[in-house]
């Protein structure tokens, strides 16, 4: 609650413990986790983070396009409901209407204010002039270069004279040179106090861009987005990319983003060979049965004796094979030396015997790595299922995860909590 203390008339925007979930209540995914910060007049804040950190969602909450799930957004101490009338947005994809000329696109934003046509036209021309599009008023967006299109986007955003100008990756769809030019022109207007705007909030994933333009950096973590750093960038303008102060801040932000919050790579499980569906107990039963004989048994005989179809037996032998306990040869299941040793061992020793093989299984390995990287070493099963859906049907994905949990538990690599539906590594 410490952020509630910041008040006074210079604060434009205040976020208090703003969280956002997506999805249904029973399987919702947390996107933004308890975000709190304020924006004061005169600030140019950059919101940084990996993709997936929810920074664009946060911008949509600030502008009122999306409502927060919990927490509140205050604008000049008023709780924000619906579209923020004092904010405007510059889009990554420009979001111009292709059937309107540059002039008409800007005029449209002015129309809502009820200005009569001559004033509207006059104002729109001034705005286009300001962003350097004099002479291109009657061009359609498709006739303009990317940089020029975004200039129309700026002119349109400024037309409503917003106190808070929000920008969602405004330069990332542009080529390098256009982006650099447009940044320079924006800073000229901003620093020269030629904009009607009192503060700017820019979302970007480009660290250098943030340090070049903004005087404050707010860094979000990934999955879910939390504020993991919020500090001023005290460099004077114009900023020099090569200067030591500049590179120091870039490095600092880079470190925060890459290490400060452990990057959670959702494992690409579907790329690995799928696990055969067999619980370790079942495999154990098979191995014991075969070891009781000569260490080699005909599959049909086994199936008949166990009252199974051969098709149902195959996942079990497949699992045994994957665990290095034996393999199928000419219609027989043959135990390996490890299999024979396993069959003869006691329960606790058996665990020790299988543990290295399971730990080295690529499928299991990916899960363990993801859990190790995660905060408090736990992750919702949803994330793994999500990854499995890329290669499997819903049913099959669940079956895969079930087998993985069975093996992981057996080898005591990780376990599963049915109530919170999370996989986790037991501490200590």
């Amino acid at each position: 609650m410490q952020n509630l203390k910041i008040s006074g008339d210079r604060v434009l925007l205040q976020l208090n413990r703003v969280s956002k979930y997506y999805g249904q209540p029973e399987s919702r995914i947390l996107i933004l986790d308890s975000i709190s910060f304020g924006i004061k007049e005169g600030e140019f804040a950059a919101l940084l983070g990996h993709s997936g950190s929810g920074k664009s969602t946060l911008l949509r909450i600030v502008t009122g396009l999306t409502a927060p799930s919990t927490g509140q957004v205050l604008y000049r101490n008023q709780v924000l409901k619906g579209i923020n009338p004092h904010a405007s947005l510059v889009f990554q994809s420009f979001a111009l209407y292709p059937w309107f000329t540059a002039l008409e696109n800007v005029e449209l934003a002015l129309k809502v204010k009820g200005l009569p046509l001559p004033q509207r036209r006059q104002r729109a021309l001034e705005l286009l002039d300001m962003v350097g599009l004099d002479g291109f008023e009657d061009a359609y967006p498709r006739e303009l270069s990317g940089g020029m299109r975004q200039k129309v986007g700026f002119a349109r955003a400024l037309a409503v004279e917003p106190e808070l100008l929000c920008m969602d990756e405004p330069f990332s769809s542009l080529d390098v040179l256009s982006a650099e030019t447009l940044r320079g022109e924006l800073m000229e207007l901003w620093l020269g106090r030629k904009l009607p705007t009192k503060a700017i909030l820019m979302v970007t994933h480009n660290i250098e861009e943030a340090v070049l333009l903004a005087d404050r950096a707010i860094v979000l973590s990934k999955n879910p987005g939390r504020v993991i750093a919020d500090f001023p960038i005290p460099l004077s303008y114009p900023r020099e990319r090569k200067s030591r102060g500049f590179t120091a801040i870039v490095d600092r932000i880079y470190r925060i983003i890459t290490q400060g919050a452990p990057a959670l790579a959702i494992p690409e499980l579907a790329e690995e060979a799928p696990l055969p569906h067999a619980a370790i107990d079942t495999v154990t039963g098979l191995v014991e049965r075969v070891a009781a004989g000569v260490g080699r048994e005909d599959l049909y005989r086994l199936a008949a004796e166990l009252q199974m179809e051969v098709d149902d037996l195959l996942p079990v032998t497949g699992a045994a094979e994957r665990l290095g306990l034996g393999r199928v040869e000419e219609g027989d299941f043959v135990l390996s030396p490890l299999g024979l040793e396993f069959a003869a061992a006691e329960v606790l020793v058996r665990k020790e015997l299988l543990r290295p093989t399971i730990a080295q299984d690529l499928f299991i390995q990916r899960i363990v790595q993801a859990l190790e990287a995660a905060e408090d070493h736990s992750l919702p099963e949803e994330l793994f299922l999500e990854a499995l859906y890329k290669g499997f049907s819903e049913e099959e994905a669940r079956a895969q995860l079930e087998t993985a949990v069975d093996w992981g538990r057996y080898a005591e690599l990780f376990t599963y909590d049915r109530d919170s539906r999370e996989l986790y590594i037991e501490q200590g």
Partner: protein, 571 residues
């Protein structure tokens, strides 16, 4: 594309379908109640066969088409908008539209015209009937096009509209309609082409002693055929083709060229569609003055009023207004439901007065018409498949043949029907032939154009591979061409059978000169029952036809379509 997205849903039958069925029965029942007041005899207009009368007749026909089209467009904008914006309305409106687009509209023509003339002056009643008929042939695909456009507006464009606080009117005008324009233009052209078929049918419509013909190109052609006046027939057909070609040059091509600016592409196309008419118009001083002095200020005034209106009023006022609207719509819905159930049950009880003889008649009629539809479909396939594949795979042939095909295909089949009657009416079983031929004429083009499109879409490397393997003759058709064309064939056949059922209504029971002829069929039952004021039979046969078409659509065509979507697509 609309058809594809609609059909893709694996939906069989639901209570919604039952309600729509009851609603149709109730509607028919209402029509029948009104029809009992219709006069027994009806005199038709005098048709002047002099070529000098043709411009006037063409104008009459065109104005009916224009009125129906404007009605369809307004309807589709409202219906599509409500269906896209109101979740509750959507659950009713979309299934309803799905059924409406698949039923054979012409089966309603007899009862609709009869009902209208019973309480309106003759001229007005029949005119309105023809406009309504054309409307029902044009509205559904336009509505789907607009609805589809509304739901695929890109997210950031919508967000921009919200950020800049465009109210519903400005969003509609500046974002939603422009975004849907391309789809609306293409579907307007299709609707217009289909509308001619129904216009001609309506203008030639007679029922026994009741002559409902309307002055226009349709009645001109029919009268010319009845009198065996060959030069008038040629003049009439010439006028028909001329009107269609002129419309293309002066209306559709300019609109198509103008609509190019609504494309979502981010770079200019290398060869945008052009129209010399549009070029002339856009350079015209007069047009520019008109726009600056009349159109622009008018639009401005409308915007001002609507922007002001919506920005007024606090949220509590709006909420109260919303709840009042909600209450009104609930009351209306309940009233409508009650009316549907009342009318539907009355209709059903009217049908129970029919004896087994009549039901047998309906059954045999349905079988006969179904057989005709199948014969027409196979005849159409027999010639369109080889020609379509030839045109689709041979660019030089396509360049030579396509312009001719397009002009011939533009002549509505119902315009040619009087000529068929004239040739066949005195032959034994002639009406049977004429009926099949009308179905063929009305449906073959859908197949041909789909087959051409399909064979043009076959990837070149696949064709080379097939050549390389030296697969020839029947084996080539069986293992390469037909599977490759399958989705297109299905699309073509769905449209074609729908058209064929429609054709049965106007072709199985006809009055030519002074003679009334009929042949066994469901279409002839519908017309005959209307002429004889046998309303129970009319109701039962119309509902049977609608039922057959909807059920076959769901059980056969939709499954084949889904199969085509799943297994026979290139992408």
């Amino acid at each position: 594309m609309q058809l594809r997205s609609i059909l893709h849903a694996h939906r069989s039958f639901s209570t919604g379908d039952l309600m729509v069925g009851l609603g149709l029965a109730a509607l028919l029942y209402l029509g029948i109640q009104l029809s009992t007041g219709a006069p027994d005899r009806f005199a038709g207009p005098e048709v002047n066969l002099s070529p000098a009368a043709l411009p006037y007749y063409a104008l009459r026909s065109l104005s009916r088409m224009a009125a129906a089209y404007l009605l369809s467009l307004s309807f589709s904008l409202v219906y599509g908008y409500v269906a896209a914006k109101n979740r509750r309305a959507q659950t009713i409106l979309l299934p309803l539209l799905d059924i409406l687009q698949s039923i054979p509209i012409l089966s309603f023509m007899p009862v609709v015209v009869l009902a209208l003339v019973s309480f309106l002056p003759r001229g007005l009643g029949v005119e309105l009937g023809s406009i309504l008929l054309i409307f029902t042939s044009q509205a559904w695909n336009l509505t789907f096009a607009f609805y589809h456009g509304l739901i695929i507006v890109p997210k950031e464009m919508r967000e921009a509209a919200s950020i800049f606080r465009l109210n519903w009117w400005l969003q509609f005008k500046a974002l939603e309609v422009p975004f849907a324009t391309i789809g609306l233009v293409w579907n307007s052209m299709m609707s217009w082409a289909g509308g001619w078929f129904f216009l001609m049918a309506a203008e030639q419509f007679t029922l026994g002693d009741k002559d409902f013909r309307l002055l226009g190109l349709g009645s001109y052609l029919k009268t010319a055929a009845e009198q065996g006046n060959i030069s008038a027939l040629i003049w009439g057909l010439g006028a028909m083709v001329a009107v269609i070609l002129l419309l293309d040059q002066f209306v559709w091509q300019p609109i198509l060229a103008w609509a190019d600016k609504f494309k979502l592409q981010t770079v200019s196309a290398s060869e945008p569609p052009r129209s010399w008419v549009l070029d002339v118009l856009s350079r015209s001083w007069l047009v520019e003055r008109f726009h600056a002095k009349a159109i622009a200020p008018l639009g401005e005034a409308i915007d001002r009023r609507l922007v002001g209106m919506v920005n007024e009023g606090s949220s509590s006022v709006r909420r109260r207004r919303g709840s009042i609207l909600g209450a009104i719509s609930t009351i209306l819905l309940i009233a409508l439901l009650a009316a549907v159930i009342y009318g539907g049950t009355r209709a059903v009880s009217l049908m129970t007065t029919l004896g087994w003889r009549e039901w047998l008649e309906i059954l045999s009629g349905a079988v006969a018409t179904w057989l005709r539809v199948l014969v027409a479909l196979f005849l159409a396939l027999a010639w369109t498949l080889p020609l379509g594949v030839a045109i689709g795979t041979n660019q030089r042939l396509a360049n030579r043949v396509m312009p001719v095909v397009q002009v011939v295909a533009s002549v509505p089949a119902t315009a040619l029907f009087p000529i068929l009657l004239w040739l066949l009416i005195n032959v034994a079983g002639g009406l049977n032939f004429a009926s099949i031929l009308l179905m063929l004429l009305g449906t073959q083009w859908y197949l041909l154009f789909n087959i051409i499109a399909g064979s043009m879409a076959i990837p070149q490397d696949l064709r080379y591979t097939t050549d390389n393997l030296a697969i020839q003759g029947w084996e080539r058709w069986r293992s390469f061409t037909l599977p490759a064309l399958f989705p297109y064939l299905i699309t073509g056949m769905i449209t074609a059978t729908g058209g064929a059922w429609n054709a049965s209504v106007v072709s199985e029971y006809v009055r030519f000169a002074t003679k009334t002829e009929s042949t066994l069929g469901l279409g002839s039952l519908i017309s005959q029952a209307t002429a004889d004021a046998n309303f129970a039979l009319l109701l039962a046969s119309t509902l049977t036809m609608v039922g057959i078409v909807v059920v076959v659509n769901r059980l056969l065509w939709r499954r084949l379509y889904n199969l085509a979507e799943e297994r026979f697509r290139w992408d």
